[in-house]
């Protein structure tokens, strides 16, 4: 089926049926998931599917519908439902579809090799990865290893003449293991996702990271409740920074539901904090030539040296704010309306290695795992569970488990006094190791 023609003809059909403007979003996908456990295949799942979502505007009112039956009758029935549903909603002058016909050119979103590699080889990689991780003498059990791949094509057409499409794919491998000592148990896991199969990290590296993580926190020692420096490692730092991203959501800012709502061009964090959203990075896992409603993606500095430089918008939120869409319409599949999200987001690297940061810390907690929701994007409050190592006189002294760390965004982000150089640009969200001068730590 020619999906370019199909999406365009469905736009015309929507106008014929009474919509004033219309958008058709079609997605096809294929995925393969292989899980292995204890040297044997545990599950193999494979499927291909397609679905379509209709966004229509009737007198400034929005309606949406979706279906995965692409027969003519199903498509027409579903489209009619969107138009009927639109009539129920409140008109809003900001409800406009984008018209921009450009696309950003991005290299490396599709690896033609992935689908040609035989299933046996993919199974073997997962099995070898598990075997390697289990061969570490500190590791007692496996909780599984896996290989996954996915491929999708997106077609968007709207009544402003926009008609675009692109194809992307990617693959990933990962393993999770358990270290035990007496009654103690600890898990560790590591994975690697890439656009290109040949760019996947060597399985030796992944296996040893998983084993290290599982073994590291055996024999923890509880620490007393106190205020002290907190070093958050790069694998964990994202769980603190994520709440800032929610607070930079342009729609939330308009609604007053963001702790950064009044912070444009104002400082809210340490000058060591610079945050960039890059939608156009070659081979980026979060890259795309256009966003979830067809607006070209870009690279933008959101926070520069602790000062808010930009919020992120889709078309409707941008109209409301009186600005241009920033190409941040996010779409979680064909089943929903575009929301707002980031592409490849990173905190700019600082000057210190993680080792230097530890060496410069007289007394503090090196955090390697955080649980909880991170900074609350509405009011900036933060409280989480933490595990890691106690640091004294610049050295890791002993593992720590089951403590808490807490504070407000204002206190934590302004107290960042060292920024690491260890960003991993292969990830779609990456933050280097950083140190917070002082934070509340809850222990015994």
């Amino acid at each position: 089926m020619n999906y370019i023609n199909l999406t365009n003809s469905l736009v015309a059909k929507a106008l014929e049926l009474g919509a004033n403007s219309a958008e058709v979003y079609l997605e096809t996908g294929r995925n393969l998931s292989i899980q292995v456990l204890n040297g044997e295949i545990e599950t193999i799942e494979e499927a291909a599917s397609a679905g379509i979502g209709f966004r229509v505007l009737v007198d400034g009112k929005t309606g949406f519908s979706h279906c995965n039956d692409l027969s003519d009758k199903s498509l027409e029935d579903t489209l009619k439902q969107a138009i009927e549903f639109a009539k129920l909603t409140t008109p809003d002058e900001n409800n406009v579809l984008p018209a921009n016909s450009e696309m950003t050119d991005i290299e490396g979103l599709y690896d033609p090799e992935i689908s040609t590699i035989p299933m046996e080889k993919k199974i073997e990689i997962a099995l070898k990865l598990e075997e390697l991780a289990l061969s570490d003498p500190r590791i007692s059990k496996s909780s599984g290893a896996g290989y996954n791949e996915g491929e999708e094509e997106v077609y968007i057409a709207n009544s402003n003449g926009l008609s675009k499409n692109y194809k992307s794919n990617g693959c990933s491998i990962g393993v999770s293991v358990v270290a035990e000592k007496g009654e103690q148990k600890n898990t560790g896991g590591e994975y690697c996702s890439r656009r290109f199969f040949n760019d996947l990290d060597p399985i030796e590296k992944i296996a040893s990271k998983a084993a290290d993580e599982a073994a590291a926190l055996i024999d923890p020692v509880m620490i007393p409740t106190q205020r002290a420096a907190v070093i958050v490692d790069s694998g964990t730092a994202g769980s603190i920074i994520r709440g800032i991203i929610g607070a930079l959501n342009g729609e939330r800012v308009q609604q007053g539901a963001s702790f950064l709502k009044d912070s444009m061009d104002k400082s809210f964090a340490s000058t060591l904090l610079t945050i960039v959203d890059d939608g156009i990075r070659p081979k980026g896992m979060g890259s795309a030539p256009f966003d979830g409603e067809g607006v070209p993606t870009q690279k933008r500095v959101l926070v520069e040296k602790g000062v808010v430089k930009g919020f992120v918008y889709n078309t409707i939120a941008a109209n409301r704010a009186g600005v241009e869409s920033t190409g941040n319409a996010s779409r979680r599949g064909f089943t929903g309306l575009p929301g707002i999200g980031t592409h490849n987001l990173y905190v700019e690297a600082g000057e210190n290695t993680p080792e230097e940061i530890i060496a410069a810390t007289k007394k503090g907690l090196l955090v390697t795992q955080i649980t909880g929701y991170g900074i609350n994007s509405v009011n900036g409050n933060f409280s989480g569970g933490a595990s890691g190592f106690w640091v004294e006189d610049g050295k890791k002294k002993h593992p720590v488990k089951g403590v808490t760390i807490a504070g407000t965004a204002d206190e934590i982000l302004n107290a960042i006094d060292m920024m690491g150089d260890d960003v991993d640009m292969n990830k779609s969200f990456t933050v280097p190791t950083f140190r917070v001068k002082e934070m509340m730590i809850g222990g015994s």
């Binding site: 679905g51 949406f64 990933s172 999770s176």
Partner: protein, 509 residues
């Protein structure tokens, strides 16, 4: 390591998270769906889920052609409606239809799975062939003839969703919004999310069962934001039942909205919570999510059969205090977690997991029951035809005890009173869990005093159930979305309980 969470946005396994936009089908949030033209009298006719059982038999035969111990076919059709009001505007209306079928083959410990959006004989046979990959060179069972099986249903419908005019949905949403916004001038914004669906399923397997049913689900969420110029709080209240539209005759939208607004206003005065280990009194209701995470997930049999779960090898042992009894019950009439029969066709039932502190059983699906040599408990659930069934909870709760809730509070000298939790997660291997409080108060000399900011509670499952020393007689439930690589609708419940010595993540000493 998969994380097991209950939260607003279910977390996904690593691939699905990392391949942002790359695996949209698998990563779509609760894939909504379902069908069809308005005004149809009978939804089952509208959903068109009729299929010739002879085709299902043929597909099962094909699935086991290369070997295998078990095969099943699952057909699903889901019609959903969602209307969102935000800032007092009907922001959008969403309508969806989703249908498809999956074929699974189990051979020893191996599972093969494939699905298709198109429910045709050709596509089902193709899925069967793909799924049978794992069974190559294995021994085979001979599938038996499929026959309609009898299962008891615990879901009743008085006002079918397909017969409800959209204007009635709109009215409910407007009433909730008006109640929230007029509650107090400090409420600056309300968001009302109305969702309903009709899900039809057909299940057939190589043991000969053939089942079909159709169930409604309603999910109503009110969030309100308060702001007094100094502080801001986003609150939430949810209502959900497997029921027709009569849910709103029993629970008014105003009641839901006012509960949300009350929390938003109360929490504006919240102070920093203290940090460290202290006693926690948890109010009855949704607080049961703590044991859902901390104890329920580790009692799901998949990690037990792998030999890595926190409760591995502890059957029949004393694992909790005498006052602690925990149950998973998929038969509570019309509750959000109720399933009648699970997505593998096993009759739902009341399973006592821990009785007076002694571990009584795990929650199984077909595969883990076989691996452990235990009975099927009716916990094999799946988010949609795009996922394989895995052991999941239904309505999970701490059973009523004998204490008066007021006495539990009055006898607690110092600590935290938790009125509601946002959600949390657990590592099912180590049993280490965390929760975030949404509404909590200091306890001073047996009294609830000042509100405190959303603190995290952390601990390990075995410690927490040993440290529950008082259980009230006021069992209540709350609705949630449970994430374990795929989403499931659940209820969590508990009476008022006290837990001695939990680590509270406050920001002051």
């Amino acid at each position: 390591m998969k994380k097991y969470v209950v939260s607003d946005i279910p977390r996904r396994d690593f691939l699905k998270m990392s391949l942002k936009g790359g695996l949209v089908f698998a990563a779509s949030p609760a894939i909504l769906s379902s069908l069809t033209s308005c005004g149809s009298e009978s939804v089952s006719e509208a959903t068109g889920m009729s299929i010739d059982p002879a085709i299902l038999k043929k597909v099962i035969g094909k699935a086991l052609e290369k070997g295998g111990d078990f095969a099943d076919v699952y057909l699903e059709n889901r019609v959903s409606r969602q209307i969102v009001m935000e800032e007092s505007k009907f922001k959008n209306g969403l309508y969806g239809v989703s249908q498809g079928a999956g074929v699974r083959v189990i051979s020893g410990n191996k599972t093969g799975y494939a699905y298709s959006d198109e429910i045709t004989e050709e596509k089902l046979l193709r899925a069967a062939e793909v799924a049978s990959y794992v069974a190559r060179n294995g021994s085979a069972v001979t599938p038996v003839d499929i026959n309609k099986a009898e299962r008891k249903s615990y879901i009743t419908v008085e006002q079918p969703l397909a017969e409800i005019a959209d204007s009635r949905r709109i009215e409910i949403i407007q009433r909730a919004n008006d109640a929230a916004m007029s509650y107090n001038p400090l409420i600056k914004m309300a968001s009302v999310d109305y969702y309903d669906e009709i899900r039809s399923r057909v299940i057939a397997n190589s043991e000969g069962i053939y089942l079909q049913d159709e169930n409604p689900l309603m999910f109503f969420i009110v969030q309100t934001m308060s702001d007094n110029g100094k502080a801001r709080h986003m609150s939430r209240e949810r209502l959900s039942k497997h029921s027709g539209f009569e849910m709103f005759d029993k629970f008014s939208p105003e009641e839901v909205a006012e509960k949300a607004a009350r929390e938003a206003v109360a929490m504006l005065d919240a102070e920093a919570a203290p940090a460290g280990i202290m006693d926690v009194v948890m109010m009855n209701g949704w607080g049961g999510v703590l044991v859902h995470e901390a104890v329920g997930h580790p009692l799901e049999a998949d990690n037990i059969s792998k030999g890595i779960g926190a409760f591995t090898g502890k059957l029949g042992q004393k694992v909790a205090s005498d006052v602690f009894t925990m149950v998973d019950d998929g038969t509570i009439p019309n509750a959000r977690g109720t399933i009648s029969f699970d997505d593998e066709g096993t009759q739902a039932k009341r399973n006592v997991l821990i009785e007076n502190g002694v571990l009584n059983g795990y929650m199984t699906d077909v595969l883990s029951a076989k691996q452990l040599g235990m009975e099927r408990t009716g916990n094999g659930r799946r988010e949609s035809f795009r996922y394989i069934p895995i052991p999941r909870m239904t309505n999970t709760f701490i059973e009523n005890g004998e204490s008066e809730p007021a006495d539990i509070l009055a006898s607690t000298k110092k600590g935290i009173y938790v009125q509601s939790l946002s959600g949390g997660s657990v590592n099912p291997v180590t049993g280490v869990f965390n929760f975030t409080c949404r509404e909590a108060y200091l306890v001073e000399n047996g009294k609830k005093t000042k509100p405190v900011k959303g603190a995290t509670l952390i601990g390990s499952c075995l410690d927490v159930i040993s440290n529950i020393d008082a259980v009230g007689n006021d069992l209540d439930f709350g609705p949630g979305i449970c994430g374990k690589g795929q989403a499931a609708e659940v209820d969590a419940g508990q009476p008022t309980v006290r837990i001695r010595g939990i680590n509270v993540g406050g920001s002051r000493s």
